[in-house]
Symmetry: C2
């Protein structure tokens, strides 16, 4: 464990370290990221990379130099959003144990419910995403642990179970009302019996 004063090391750092150093190159890098975010939002993460390069106004070669694989680009686009997701757990620090748990998960669902790409991105098998997941588990773990310690949440599940289950339910194709209902049912399953 690091002393809390030290700047927290995040998965973002891993990405930032890869940014190019020259001014023109940096401009291109940012343009690519913006174009990719736009394209992924419009057509999912399998949008055409040539199209991304075109939108960004750079050559395809430049895209591939900055992001050798499609996954690298996806990660760069979504890492910051996923980190924000982890931060959601902090918002409920002062709630009572069970409401804290439900509010955390509800916020979580609100956040990812509309963008299925985020769930996919989160499940991606890569170093960076693994770091993201860890961050998320570390943030949510205490919320669950508190509810379990107070006996309001069943204790045969861990935080990974909870996040996976909720993400699974949140990812179903359904209108927002139905999704909310499904998530509520699933969360209800977490109550201590």
């Amino acid at each position: 464990m690091q002393p809390t004063e030290a700047p927290m090391s995040t998965a973002l750092d891993t990405i930032t370290a890869k940014k190019p150093r020259r001014a023109d190159a940096l401009r291109n890098y940012e343009a690519l990221l913006a174009a990719a975010r736009e394209a992924f939002a419009a057509s999912g993460t399998d949008a055409s990379l040539e199209d991304v390069a075109r939108r960004a106004g750079v050559g395809i070669g430049t895209l591939y130099r900055n992001f050798p694989a499609r996954d690298d680009l996806i990660e760069a686009v979504y890492v910051s959003e996923i980190e924000a997701l982890a931060a959601v757990a902090d918002e409920v620090r002062n709630d009572a144990a069970w409401p804290a748990l439900t509010r955390w998960l509800d916020r979580f669902v609100d956040y990812i419910g509309t963008k299925r790409v985020l769930i996919e991105a989160m499940n991606r098998d890569s170093e960076v995403m693994a770091a993201c997941r860890t961050a998320m588990y570390e943030a949510g773990g205490p919320v669950l642990a508190r509810a379990q310690a107070e006996g309001v949440a069943r204790d045969d599940v861990d935080v990974i179970d909870v996040v996976r289950m909720v993400a699974g339910v949140a990812g179903v194709q359904a209108d927002p009302d139905q999704r909310r209902r499904l998530v509520d049912v699933a969360i209800d399953g977490l109550r201590a019996r």
Copy 2:
């Protein structure tokens, strides 16, 4: 409602009606289906269609004549499996209300858990798949209704909710143990409080 003696009309019929009539054409049709099943199992539903045609030993044109869109091929491959899925609900007809519900859903999860493609296929937006879903809801509806009537299942959900939720949880990337645990939690959320 049809009298029960009449042969039940199934989504399969819609597919069967599209089979070619000439002997050589029928052979090709079956070969394509077999090749596609194999290819989809190996590389998912985005396997190369040219490869499917090659494996089947027919020209690419033949594939496209029988299955004008990729989805048509996917449907033809999976419709029968999804119908089997609906039949699972019949197995539990004689169980007590709550065990019937849990057993139905457990069997359901066993069936689709390993093949994510099936879940995807099921959510596909098409006439045939809609018929499949309807069949499934009609099979599972009574199981849920019985549990609700006896007051052991919460009554603010319908069968569509239940199937969607369970399918969502069953689709998460996880080892079988974890998946089983997650599904149990979610199903537990269905208990009347």
